[in-house]
Symmetry: C2
DNA sequence: GATGACATGTAATCAGTTACATGATTAG
DNA sequence: CTAATCATGTAACTGATTACATGTCATC
């Protein structure tokens, strides 16, 4: 029995309550998607796999107003496997950041183009930051102040905290990058006069 | 003609000077590896592909003390393609952070196990932080103070700056996480007395 | 003579994305 | 009747990792 990371991701969501594959995909967008993404076409086979391993079971639910669906529930075996996994040190994943790769070769670019690139990135990350900060406040209001480490909402809070710190750094770095090229541009203009 | 991200990564390295496949793989470890990793078995076919596209050429160099090697040089076409690529906005990659996924389900864990996980992570990132900070100082000494945006060393400096900010945030967040579980543990012990 | 760094590749496998295929039900 | 959402899947392709395969040269 070996479970893929996606498998654990699905178990982590199902640990909070039963859901259909379609609904799992929705969760894979909104809160989970910030640190683990996945497509429906990958979720369905993975659910079948988890069921074959005895980590989940499903019931067909017939709905009147919508098409019928399969609602999956985590089993004791699944719960045990998930609990064992959460505190196992993850193997450091191969880093892959295309923006940093571009940055490594950015000395080749025109200042104007570089400034545009980093201003755009700065704005993008500022938007995400605002989104996360909104989420953080929502969570703090839902539970009185900071959630306790043993309630599910703590998972949301802790990850959103990381998101805020991450996006905050990103925005500042992008800002610094654009600034460097603006300074270079200014001194170029001065030289040509 | 379409070039993969790995292809651009190789071009970005070759833009600083000709190298063999083996040497490119070395660079893929030391400075580039922090934001783009790759194996030799992927590099060799990619170099052949780049050569077929006219982005690089190679010469066989016979060495006396070592086996012969193929040294690759970037062409004008390769240089043009690279320069056009560096300032194109990258498509945001699907986020995938296993530690955050575990964090989302960490409320299921025992406080002791959680503390160990985050203390270990904190130490790991503190080590990387020290490594990056050392690198930053080395670069600042090599060039008088901050490298100019249009010299190659700026690429190294800018990426290492991001690395420092990132690892710094990571260390702080891990520390906060461990602290949350230590507080939970302390209040548990108090309750049982 | 064995080990390790240098050097270049191919083959099998895996995880994940995109495209394809089908169908129910509701709202406009 | 048409588009959007809900709902479940399969198939083809792509990028990357791991394992396999071969060989040179220097040092211990």
């Amino acid at each position: 029995m070996d479970i893929s990371t996606l498998g654990y991701a699905l178990l982590a969501i199902l640990a909070r309550g039963p859901l259909s594959g379609y609904d799992l995909a929705q969760r894979m967008k909104k809160p989970i998607g910030f640190f683990w993404q996945s497509q429906l076409s990958q979720i369905y086979p993975e659910l079948a796999h988890l069921e074959a391993q005895g980590c989940v079971t499903h019931k067909v639910i017939v709905q009147e107003d919508r098409p019928q669906k399969k609602v999956y529930t985590i089993t004791d075996a699944g719960s045990t496997a998930l609990k064992a996994w959460v505190t196992r040190s993850p193997t450091p994943p191969p880093e892959r950041n295309e923006l940093l790769l571009k940055t490594y070769a950015i000395w080749l670019a025109d200042s104007e183009a570089a400034i545009e690139l980093f201003r755009t990135q700065e704005q993008m990350h500022a938007e995400r930051l605002a989104l996360y900060e909104h989420d953080r406040i929502r969570i703090e209001q839902e539970s009185g102040r900071v959630p306790h480490p043993h309630e599910p909402l703590f998972g949301n809070y802790a990850t959103v905290r990381m998101g805020i710190a991450y996006e905050h750094e990103y925005v500042e770095w992008c800002h610094w990058m654009a600034e460097q090229f603006e300074l270079a541009l200014a001194s170029q203009l001065q030289d040509s006069q």
